[in-house]
């Protein structure tokens, strides 16, 4: 096994991106993700890559759009308010079918909000953010190791399906250090015949574009895109199940919330409560099969989130409301304690959701 080193989650993303072949990073400073930019600023010039601090989030996502269209593995990173500014570019990137990786190390909102960890951009990441019919692959790391592995995965999926992969992390995972090792895994790359390279007078010109003034053409384009999304939904959902074999109650949580929830599950098991955890690793595509299967087994669900209750809507949707779904949440930068989650589990056992 490769050597284990201690690394911050944000740095792990940056290092993994470089290992994935990303040589173009465009960003703008914002807490709590600035370590990514700092790492890139230090490393990129030494390996023939490009780090450029843009004048705004808007400019940085459009530089990503340009570099992606030019066929590069490219990324940007930001935190919640900055992602709102990038929303326009995300929509154009989706509409033009070019691949990119965008990292959101979430902080509390709305507005300027706060700088402490949050998961309140779940809706924005999984349901839109920008305008128009589109999806992004949304990956939710719960450890520093996953910050790295999902970054690499994110680049591969983006290239494979010609869409944006978003790493939806939070301030805790971004700032914390954990041991991590980088295995020398083979990184998949994909041909990009559509890329802007100059025609070299050898082929008709490539056009990267999201404008279709004829409604029937735009409709066809969107339908084609959604067929691709369907393949993603069928093949790329990832999740972790923990102590679910005999579970009568199921906690659903992602990212940092799932780690708190795991502690609570262990504590509840010690009290004899049969409870397990489903941790979505992809938030889109949502692990609906796992949830639906659990709905036939358990007596109820508890969605643990760092927001006012966003993922709970998907939990209800994909369990087809077969069983009650409770919410255990904190927001604004607050994190529920394992005891708070444990209390919610105890309540569930009493039939209180």
């Amino acid at each position: 096994m490769a050597e284990r080193v201690l690394m911050k989650g944000n740095e792990a993303i940056a290092e993994a991106a470089i290992r994935a072949g990303c040589r173009h990073y465009f960003g703008y400073p914002i807490t709590p993700q600035t370590e990514i930019a700092a790492y890139m600023a230090k490393k990129m010039p030494k390996i023939g890559g490009v780090f450029l601090q843009a004048e705004s989030e808007i400019a940085s996502i459009n530089m990503v759009y340009g570099a992606a269209a030019a066929g590069m593995r490219v990324m940007t990173s930001s935190s919640s308010p900055g992602i709102s500014l990038k929303a326009e570019g995300l929509s154009y990137i989706a509409g033009s079918d070019v691949p990119a990786l965008v990292v959101n190390v979430q902080r509390g909102g709305p507005g300027l909000g706060g700088i402490q960890p949050s998961q309140s951009d779940y809706f924005q990441a999984t349901k839109g953010g920008g305008h128009g019919d589109y999806r992004m692959i949304v990956l939710a790391p719960a450890s520093v190791q996953e910050m790295a592995s999902l970054t690499i995965k994110g680049f591969e999926l983006a290239d494979k399906y010609l869409m944006t992969s978003m790493i939806l992390a939070d301030g805790t995972i971004g700032q914390m250090m954990e041991p991590i090792s980088f295995e020398d895994a083979e990184i998949k790359s994909y041909e990009k015949p559509w890329a802007l390279t100059g025609t070299k007078n050898e082929r008709p010109h490539n056009i990267v574009n999201s404008l279709y003034l004829k409604p029937d053409e735009l409709e066809v384009k969107n339908i084609e895109r959604y067929k691709r999304y369907q393949i993603v939904e069928e093949n790329e959902a990832m999740w972790e199940e923990y102590m679910m074999e005999d579970a009568e109650y199921c906690v659903v949580a992602f990212g940092i919330a799932s780690r708190v929830a795991k502690n609570a599950v262990v504590a509840a098991r010690q009290e004899g409560i049969k409870v397990g955890l489903i941790r979505p690793i992809t938030l889109w595509p949502f692990p609906k099969d796992a949830l639906l299967a659990a709905a036939d087994k358990v007596k109820g669900f508890i969605s643990v989130e760092l927001n006012m209750g966003q993922m709970i809507e998907d939990v209800k949707l994909y369990t087809q409301c077969k069983k009650p779904v409770g919410l255990c949440n904190r927001c604004g930068g607050m994190i529920p304690s394992p005891d708070e989650v444990l209390e919610a589990i105890r309540n569930a056992q009493k039939g209180v959701f």
């Binding site: 284990r4 201690l6 807490t31 709590p32 700088i115 402490q116 301030g171 805790t172 700032q175 914390m176 250090m177 954990e178 041991p179 940092i256 780690r259 708190v260 795991k262 502690n263 262990v266 994190i335 304690s337 394992p338 005891d339």
Partner: protein, 179 residues
């Protein structure tokens, strides 16, 4: 299963995060599972700073510490804020050069170390943090004192190599401190 949750708290500039990093790296070399979580944001610029370090022989769940096994308090507000969160039977390390009150709880073990004064007296003014860590290592066989120099070398940037020796001096001062 053995998990030690260590909360280090004090002012920005006291090396709170560095002390935590040292413990995390030490844990890593002892082949433990570790996590290190700093406070971040504007309070880091001269306000309060704290750091959560978890060392465990099983994978770390939540990296956020609500009930520490060990509290290192480097200033009075930190001691007052966290003293009651320490688990019964836990340990509290107090920089008694900066904190002139005593811990009233009787269900915890308290170590008073005038670390800031000791650091000043020994010409290593900024290393009170490592004096306390040196003392802590004595009480934690899962970490042990052996191999600390390699960890310090890993943490101190090459440009500041002179600091390695000073950190080792601080760790030894703490180790040998007899209350």
């Amino acid at each position: 299963m053995k998990t030690t949750q260590i909360l280090i708290a004090g002012f920005g500039g006291q090396g709170i995060l560095f002390a935590g990093k040292f413990l995390a790296y030490k844990g890593l070399t002892e082949e433990l599972q570790v996590s290190w979580l700093p406070s971040y944001g504007p309070e880091m610029r001269g306000g309060t700073a704290n750091c959560n370090v978890i060392l465990s022989d099983t994978p770390v769940g939540s990296p956020i510490i609500t009930s520490p096994d060990v509290l290192i308090a480097m200033n009075l507000p930190s001691l007052q804020k966290y003293v009651d969160t320490v688990v019964p039977g836990g340990q509290i390390y107090v920089d008694s050069a900066l904190i002139d009150i005593k811990v009233e709880r009787t269900d915890v073990e308290v170590f008073y170390i005038p670390a800031t004064q000791m650091a000043k007296d020994n010409g290593i003014a900024s290393l009170a943090n490592m004096i306390i860590i040196g003392h802590l290592l004595q009480n934690h066989p899962e970490l042990s004192f052996a191999g600390t120099d390699a960890v310090v070398q890993k943490l101190v940037p090459a440009k500041k190599a002179a600091l390695v020796e000073l950190n080792m001096k601080a760790l030894l001062l703490g180790k040998e401190y007899k209350g």
